[in-house]
């Protein structure tokens, strides 16, 4: 393959890309801004400190007995909960408006009745749990934690302070990330957003190829003694370089500002990044090969990219998907790119963890390039 035309193609595409200020802003600045926002959201209340996120609950003690006060004190001491003590009306309103996941209302006489009920000597008192139906998981966790605190408070009171029923075990918590690494929500959000916007950039390059055809530029290119392989390779190479730049600039920002670290393998990170960039650039070729006109191609590819990034876990991690969908999204290249970058950053998996995503991404690239070469309209007339 002659190198001079190939290098000229690459240089020209880079010049055109960087001469378009809007494209540069959309490709480099916008993903950083959105990823910063998503990173902040997904970092949760615990941030990146390694502390668990706390669940906000409200407690209304209408009993004011020793037992009910002990229950409230136990909940306040729980590092998984943030407890407020508003009047009942305010507690109900906070749950209704979604500001609090659960409100616990301890009725009058609770302590006395609970003490008797513990040994089967009386009716069980009713503890009111007001909950936000959209936050089922948090409700279940609060219910479990409350059981523990009530049992401790009642047993302690009924034994005259001599005995307290406690959990018969302690917990050693270990976040399964890389060695000495804490989870950093920004790592995932920057991976997802960078991939989304490099796919947009490559789809745009595909649309630009259609515009080049419309403007007669491909006729001039095809009249030169340059092979089809050189023309497509030039486009693929320039697309790969731009994609890689988008990824590296995004992660560079995340490393500098949000302390995202490559906890796995640097070589693996670069390998997944390059494979992802190659996949994206061949996706651009596919757009050019299958698109009928720039206008229709632009609309269709926008939809295709959004579907790919949504299903690939670029917006929210795939573990929140139903099991069947998690399996189904394995056919989406973005899923492999996001998983590969997650593995090399906050999950801290070594080079071995990068191999499969790289192989799959290159496989997608070969598939896209093959279809593009077969379907590309070479004849100009």
């Amino acid at each position: 393959m002659p190198i001079t035309p190939l290098l000229a193609m690459i240089r020209k595409d880079l010049q055109l890309f960087f001469s378009d200020r809007r494209a540069v802003i959309v490709s480099f600045v916008v993903p950083i801004a959105i990823a910063s926002f998503f990173g902040m959201v997904f970092a949760g209340a615990g941030g990146n400190s390694g502390e668990p996120a706390r669940i906000a609950i409200a407690m209304v003690d209408r009993d004011m007995s020793a037992i009910s006060k002990a229950v409230v004190a136990g909940a306040q001491a729980d590092r998984s909960l943030t407890v407020t003590l508003p009047p009942e009306d305010e507690a109900r309103d906070a749950v209704r408006r979604g500001r609090t996941a659960v409100a616990v209302v301890i009725p009058p006489g609770f302590g006395d009745a609970a003490g008797k009920a513990l040994f089967g000597g009386g009716d069980k008192p009713e503890l009111s749990l007001l909950h936000d139906p959209s936050r089922g998981a948090e409700f279940a966790m609060v219910r479990g934690m409350l059981t523990q605190h009530v049992m401790e408070a009642v047993s302690h009171d009924m034994s005259g302070g001599a005995r307290r029923i406690t959990l018969p075990y302690t917990v050693r918590e270990e976040a399964m990330t890389g060695a000495n690494a804490a989870y950093n929500g920004y790592a995932h959000s920057f991976a997802g957003m960078a991939i989304q916007f490099l796919l947009f950039a490559m789809a745009n390059i595909g649309v630009e190829m259609l515009l080049e055809r419309q403007r007669g530029l491909w006729a001039r290119l095809r009249s030169a003694p340059v092979s089809k392989l050189t023309l497509l390779s030039g486009k693929a190479a320039s697309g790969t370089i731009i994609s890689l730049m988008i990824l590296l600039v995004s992660f560079g920002f995340a490393m500098l500002v949000f302390k995202v670290r490559i906890q796995g393998s640097v070589a693996g990170f670069l390998g997944v990044s390059i494979a992802c960039a190659v996949m994206a650039s061949t996706f651009g070729l596919l757009v050019a090969a299958l698109g009928n006109s720039p206008a229709t191609a632009r609309g269709v590819t926008m939809l295709a990219v959004l579907m790919m990034v949504m299903l690939g876990g670029a917006w929210v991690p795939t573990f929140v998907f139903p099991a069947w969908l998690q399996r189904g999204t394995m056919v989406v290249p973005v899923r492999w790119a996001v998983d590969g970058l997650d593995a090399m950053t906050w999950r801290g998996i070594g080079l071995r963890g990068a191999v499969l995503p790289m192989v799959v991404l290159i496989g997608f690239a070969v598939l896209f390039a093959t279809i593009a070469a077969a379907r590309f309209r070479w004849e100009e007339g």
């Binding site: 240089r11 010049q15 007669g216 001039r220 095809r222 030169a224 003694p225 004849e379 100009e380 007339g381």
Partner: protein, 259 residues
């Protein structure tokens, strides 16, 4: 008697798109230092013929001979002997004139000093040397047409294919392009020129090929064609004498509208 190989010879070219036969059994020659005007109504097959010569379309049948040699594929070095000036303004608006030419020259493997000299030479020829660094999007239509011509000349081809190169330009730019073409012809270049403007062909062409419905219906000098339309009742005579080329053209191709 010495037989001189023509710069370009096309033999029995045929191209169809589905059931539509766009070009059928088209043959003609183009000698060095000669400009051949290729005329025809819309849909006559002119652009398809030029596209086959430039390697943009693969003929179903027939041959394109450049200096007696058939073109063999996309990367045939003989393609360097052909320069294409397409009907569209095939330029990158967001690049400078020089950056455009640097790119198009590199496609022909021109590099370094040779490339810079070629760029300087063609920009001088088309009168755009002082605008070399300016973005093409700042150019007028006439300047873009001249740069379009320069891009086709950059690699110093022996044969220049010009597909309606003066569409939408002002008289000054058109005249400048004509002077460029006459200079190229005097340097021994062979030019194939398609247009709808009859006066351009009358001024520039040594020979004229008229196509209609995909076939060559006449090929002659201007005088030869004019002599064919001389009978009583033929309109469009210039000064009451010879028929104008437009009259000849309408006589040959008819007056029905072509869209």
């Amino acid at each position: 008697m010495t037989l001189v190989t023509p710069a370009l010879e096309i033999k029995d070219l045929r191209k169809s798109f589905g059931s539509l036969v766009a070009v059928d059994e088209v043959s003609f020659r183009l000698e060095r230092g000669q400009l051949v005007g290729l005329l025809g109504p819309n849909g006559a097959g002119k652009t398809t013929t030029v596209s086959m010569i430039a390697g943009l379309l693969t003929p179903d049948r027939g041959r394109v001979l450049v200096n007696g040699q058939a073109l063999a594929g996309d990367t045939d070095p003989a393609k360097r002997r052909i320069g294409l000036v397409p009907q569209d303004l095939a330029l990158y608006d967001e690049l400078s004139a020089r950056a455009n030419l640097r790119f198009f020259g590199a496609l022909y493997s021109l590099t370094g000093r040779a490339l810079e000299q070629a760029i300087g030479s063609v920009l001088d020829l088309v009168g755009l040397a002082d605008r070399a660094r300016d973005l093409v999007r700042t150019f007028s239509g006439g300047m873009k047409r001249r740069l379009n011509l320069a891009a086709g000349l950059l690699h110093d081809p022996d044969i220049l294919l010009l597909d309606e190169p003066t569409v939408g330009v002002d008289p000054q730019s058109r005249n400048a392009i004509f002077e460029n073409l006459e200079l190229l012809k005097s340097r021994g270049k062979a030019l194939l020129y398609t247009t709808h403007y009859m006066e351009e062909v009358e001024r520039l062409a040594d020979r004229i090929v008229v196509m209609d419905h995909g076939t060559v219906i006449a090929e002659d000098t201007l005088d030869g064609l004019q002599s064919r339309v001389g009978g009583p009742g033929s309109g469009g005579r210039a000064g009451g004498g010879r028929a104008t080329l437009e009259a000849v053209f309408l006589t040959l191709t008819g007056r029905s509208l072509r869209d």
